[in-house]
Amino acid sequence: MPDDLAIHARGVTRVYKAKPERVTALGGVDLDVAPGEYFGLLGPNGAGKTTLIKILTTLLIPTAGTAMVAGFDVVTETAKIRRVINMVSGGEQSGYGLLTAREQLWMFSQFYGLPNREGWRKVDELIEITGLTEQKDQKVRTLSTGQRQKLNFARGMLNDPWVLFLDEPTLGLDVAAARDLREHTLAWKAAAPGRTLLLTTHYMVEAEQLCDRIAIVDRGMILALGTPEELRRRVQAESIFRIELDRLPQNGGLAALTDLPGVLSAVSADDDGTDAAGSDRVALKVALADDSALTSVVTAVSERGSHLVGLAKSEPSLEDVFVELVGRGFGEEDGKDDLS
């Protein structure tokens, strides 16, 4: 039932009356996110991710279709939705420069109706959680980009949202700051189960680390939807391992491995030019129908006099998935206006 879902969208369309021609930012998006789920929207700039978030956070009305958040309609029940959501965007400079970090958060706590004392308590708690204790009395305009984004994140937590929207939250942050933010998000997940997250990003690592399910979005459409593992399976159904041995297996060599149940192929990694010339080691690329076949391969290798030196699983990235679905990478945009 749509009422039981955290997010429900059917045929959500958004057309902008841009010049010289209209831009369809969303072309009929269907989406269901269960309560407690962390859901990611992965796609390049201009894919429509932010447009969808704006619709779900009641900033934008869809041109067509319906959308509900926490069982409330985004067009007609905005007041109720706003009581249970919050939003954190990346790369923004919002805020009042002359307020301290602590004051800024308190001000927003009042916008969410927190009683004064409760507001200050919550503010101090979130400042500690996000690691801004040293900066709490610094004016917002003096904070670094990473600190401001932590502050934004803390603001996003003020009302203990049931649905949190993170719109490219780590945009423009350095590696450490981005990692911190992801850790805060995971900590929130652990501390507050049952809360839902919708994350938009074009960083694959972020989507894989945070999200239970991911939708790959491009040009206003969802191209694929599933867990990270399911999405990778679309590109590469088999499990591919790179196995490094001290020498080639005796008594049949690679052919003996290929005959093992569950092994689809076994080739020298040299055949695809991935092995360094002149090495004493032998590298094999083994394709398995299932990860469970790996045990028999390792056993067979050992029985044929070779020793395992290294083992690594080779998996397609989500960009590989995207390329497979769309035919171009995340960086190969075609210059469409980004109205998201």
């Binding site: 009305i61 109720k80 939003m87 965007s89 805020g95 109706g113 927190l114 004064n116 049931w162």
Partner: protein, 291 residues
């Protein structure tokens, strides 16, 4: 309860159901919250005392000297001083309320306001109240210093009525500001021009520097539309009872007009804000900058 928690609700739908009392309390808190940066800003950057108090006082003084050059009766000097004081509130309405949503959109704060549960009128009220410290200081400075320097004498025979007229003028004035806030959001990049348009023309139509009666039939238009003009005319009659310069209408009638204006503008503001929010959401203007 985990460290993030601030609710005892067990699900989102339950958390979204707020009682009327809670809605009212939340909106009042939002008023205080939004007023806070305005008030605290005054203590952190004291240059406003020079730019917002002293210099505007000098501008008001210029009109006093025009009357002195024209050898006008001293009552007119009092008119200018009182008018100058009231313009402080009008400027607060225009710049601190009407144009504010446009500036907030530029800074990226507007979308945060729209996604929060409080009503926009609470935010506007907070802005207005926060600006009142500066505004009231400016008004008092103009009246106080102006009266001392230019020897203005007052003949206030009904002080409570005067206070009532002043407060009654503020209601439609700020209601008008809220109405303009939604119009500014609609008209986007013309906000600066609109704000400029709402200064000298309003001073002219409102009789800020001269008795409104001098406008002749135009004064009637003012009576119907401009709370600043109506309020100022009533206050002048009460503050300078012996000036010999008549108002457009008796004070009682003008009080009634202000009361009706108050209701009209507040209701219109609420309706306009709701309608224009929907329009802005439909056309995607809430987050479109430099529009």
């Amino acid at each position: 309860m985990n460290r993030y928690a601030s609710t005892t609700a067990t699900n989102a739908r339950e958390a979204a159901e707020w009682s009327t009392g809670r809605i009212i309390r939340s909106n009042l808190r939002a008023v205080i919250g939004r007023a806070y940066p305005r008030v605290i800003g005054l203590t952190r950057e004291p240059s406003w005392l020079f730019f917002e108090i002293f210099l505007p006082f000098l501008a008001v003084s210029a009109f006093v000297f025009v009357y002195r050059a024209l050898e006008a009766p001293e009552a007119y000097v009092g008119f200018v001083v009182l008018g100058g004081a009231m313009t402080a509130f009008w400027l607060n309405v225009v710049w601190m309320m009407a144009a504010q949503f446009y500036w907030e959109k530029d800074q990226g704060n507007l979308e945060l306001y729209f996604t929060a549960p409080m009503h926009l009128m609470s935010i506007l009220a907070g802005m207005a109240i926060g600006g009142l410290v500066m505004t009231s200081s400016r008004a008092l400075a103009v009246i106080g210093i102006g009266s001392l320097l230019f020897g203005v004498t007052y003949d206030i025979q009904q002080p409570f009525l005067l206070a009532g007229v002043f407060l009654l003028t503020m209601v439609p004035l700020y209601g008008m500001g809220m109405l303009f806030a939604s119009l500014f959001l609609l008209w986007g990049r013309e906000a600066f021009h609109l704000a400029q348009l709402l200064q000298e023309p309003i001073y002219f139509l409102g009789g800020v520097n001269f008795p409104l009666r001098a406008l002749g039939p135009v004064a009637g238009v003012v009576m119907a539309t401009l709370p600043l003009g109506v309020g100022l005319d009533a206050m002048r009659q009460l503050v300078f009872a012996d000036s010999g310069v008549a108002g457009v209408l008796p004070v009682g009638t003008e009080v009634l007009i202000l009361a009706v204006m108050g209701v009209v503008f507040i209701v219109a503001a609420r309706l306009a804000l709701g309608y224009l929010e929907t329009l802005a959401r439909r056309e995607g203007r809430l987050t479109l900058r430099w529009q």
